[in-house]
């Protein structure tokens, strides 16, 4: 009736069909994530329109060094994730494992760098509240947006690292064959998290630098 390989899930007639469904389902989920972050970006755009000066003043306080290195780290992790999928399609188990490991490691590196950045921001007291160092009150809006956007992105990244590690371990233990359909889905999710950060970089770090 069909190539009833152990990978075939219940309702699917063929593995190929299931593979397309997994990536289609993930793309629909990505559309919802785009709108989830889109709501936040709308808030950013509106407040930037309402008080551009305060936004520029507040944005000068962010540290571009951390932002830029983090972007480079995340872009590299996107490369290794894409390679993991390509290797799994070619059936190269060892390379897939290596790529997944590097992706997870780069994700962790991102979080560590982020931790340092958060630490230095808190040192400067940049948490919105009554004794906020920057003067016009609207700067607190930028920093509220900064903490929320990077916070939600970090949560998404941690979930991503978790999933990548899980499938890496399953691959190593052999419970998950190398040509499973799951790799494609996880890669799409990881690239989404990276694309969100690609847009966060100019919004948070490159505003009002000139």
């Amino acid at each position: 009736m069909s190539d009833a390989s152990p990978l075939l899930r219940e309702p699917w007639p063929s593995l190929e069909r299931q593979k397309v469904a997994v990536s289609f389902g993930m793309w629909v989920f990505i559309a919802s994530e785009v709108l989830f972050f889109g709501g936040l970006f709308l808030a950013y755009t509106v407040y930037r329109h309402l008080d551009a000066e305060a936004f520029k003043a507040a944005a000068r306080e962010t540290e571009v060094f951390y932002g830029a290195t983090n972007t480079a780290v995340l872009l590299t992790s996107s490369l290794t994730m894409a390679m993991a999928v390509k290797a799994s399609e070619e059936g190269l188990r060892r390379m897939t494992l290596w790529c997944l490991g590097t992706t997870a490691a780069l994700g962790l590196a991102f979080l560590v760098i982020k931790g340092f950045e958060y630490h230095s921001d808190l040192e400067k007291g940049l948490w919105p509240g009554p004794d906020f160092p920057l003067h016009p009150a609207a700067t607190q809006l930028f920093w509220a947006f900064y903490w929320i956007a990077t916070g939600i992105h970090a949560v998404h990244l941690t979930v991503g690292i978790g999933i990548v590690t899980v499938i890496a371990v399953q691959l190593k233990r052999g419970t998950l064959p190398v040509e499973a359909t799951r790799f494609e889905g996880v890669a799409l999710y990881w690239h989404l998290v990276d694309t969100i950060w690609i847009f966060l970089l100019p919004m948070l770090y490159l505003v009002g630098r000139a």
Binding site: D51, A52, E53, A54, H135, P136, A137, A138
Partner: protein, 311 residues
């Protein structure tokens, strides 16, 4: 039917009632048409009835489909046009409107008449003359609802919202809060008292605490130290406020803003927001120093400057 139709106290109430009446009749007709069709078809074409049931040619079904689609679309566009015209008619209030300041606070309305008379949960206004309400809230979003005038406008904290009307029937009507604002939202009601101009003049003169807003504003202008920089003779390089109200101001970051109440209020509370071109942002913020009542007086004073009549 007591509560059916609220009393009409303004020209606009009448117009909008007519729009409502037309929409109501159109809707009633459509619902009646659907009802009759359903009942008619159900009886005529119930199972086993002998009514003729020849088939409907394809063309008829498509044409029928097309007609009622375009019919509804055209009807709705006409209704939109009519409503839009009525809405656009009264966006910009006339120039010579009497200005009342309304401050909404959790669960009361504070109204200040032009001559400084203050009242709680009461709004006295003359009939026959345009009246403009400049409204702000001190805490949450409220909404001033005058059913007799068919008017409602949310009152937002940290910003001015405006409502204007020209009433034509004296009387006492409801004044309600229409946006959920906390525990006693339903008790935050009051009276809208519309009087003939003569009664209104007599009433407002007889009220205690009638004083000249602009004169008070000037005293505050000096006591808060504004005159230190903004007076003509001052040695600090600050914008001259003579005739500032309604002027188009060119700001430092190349924007042109109209100097209205909202601009004056922002410039006093958040001076960094719209720094005037050619000036350094040295003005301190008066947030927490100038409360809403003092703000009303200061703005009245600044407006009196632009009217060219030095108090």
């Amino acid at each position: 039917m007591t509560g059916a139709f609220p009393p009409e106290a303004s020209v606009y109430a009448g117009q909008w009632d007519r729009l409502f009446a037309v929409l109501a009749t159109v809707s009633a007709l459509v619902v009646l048409l659907i009802f009759l069709l359903i009942v008619g078809f159900s009886i005529r074409y119930r199972r086993g009835s002998r009514a003729p049931r020849g088939f409907l040619p394809e063309i008829i079904t498509n044409e029928l489909e097309l007609t009622w689609t375009s019919a509804t679309a055209i009807a709705f566009l006409f209704l939109f046009w009519w409503a839009a015209v009525q809405q656009l008619h009264n966006i910009v209030p006339p120039k010579n409107a009497i200005e009342l300041h309304v401050v909404a606070k959790q669960w009361m309305w504070k109204v200040q008449q032009p001559n400084g008379v203050r009242e709680i949960n009461e709004l006295h206004a003359p009939v026959g003359r345009p009246v403009r309400l400049i409204m702000t809230s001190q805490d949450v979003i409220h909404s001033l609802f005058l059913p007799a005038l068919r008017l409602k406008q949310d009152v937002l904290p940290g910003r001015y919202t405006y409502l204007w009307f020209t009433a034509d029937k004296p009387g006492v009507y409801h004044l309600l809060c229409a946006e959920l604002c906390g525990t006693e939202h339903s008790r935050m009601t009051g009276r809208l008292v519309l009087m003939t101009p003569a009664d209104y003049a007599r009433w407002s003169a007889a009220q205690p605490g009638a004083e000249n807003l602009a004169a008070d504003g000037e005293k505050l202008f000096r006591s808060f130290g504004c005159s230190g920089c903004h007076a003509p003779g001052a040695n600090v390089h600050a914008p001259d406020l003579d005739g500032v109200f309604g002027r188009k101001v060119h700001t430092a970051d190349d924007r042109t803003v109209t100097a209205d109440e909202a601009y004056l209020r922002d410039s006093i509370l958040l001076p960094q927001k719209d720094v005037v071109a050619g000036f350094k942002p040295i003005m301190p913020s008066f947030q927490g120093i100038v409360n809403d009542d003092a703000m009303v007086k200061l703005i009245a004073y600044l407006k009196s400057l632009s009217a060219g009549t030095r108090p």
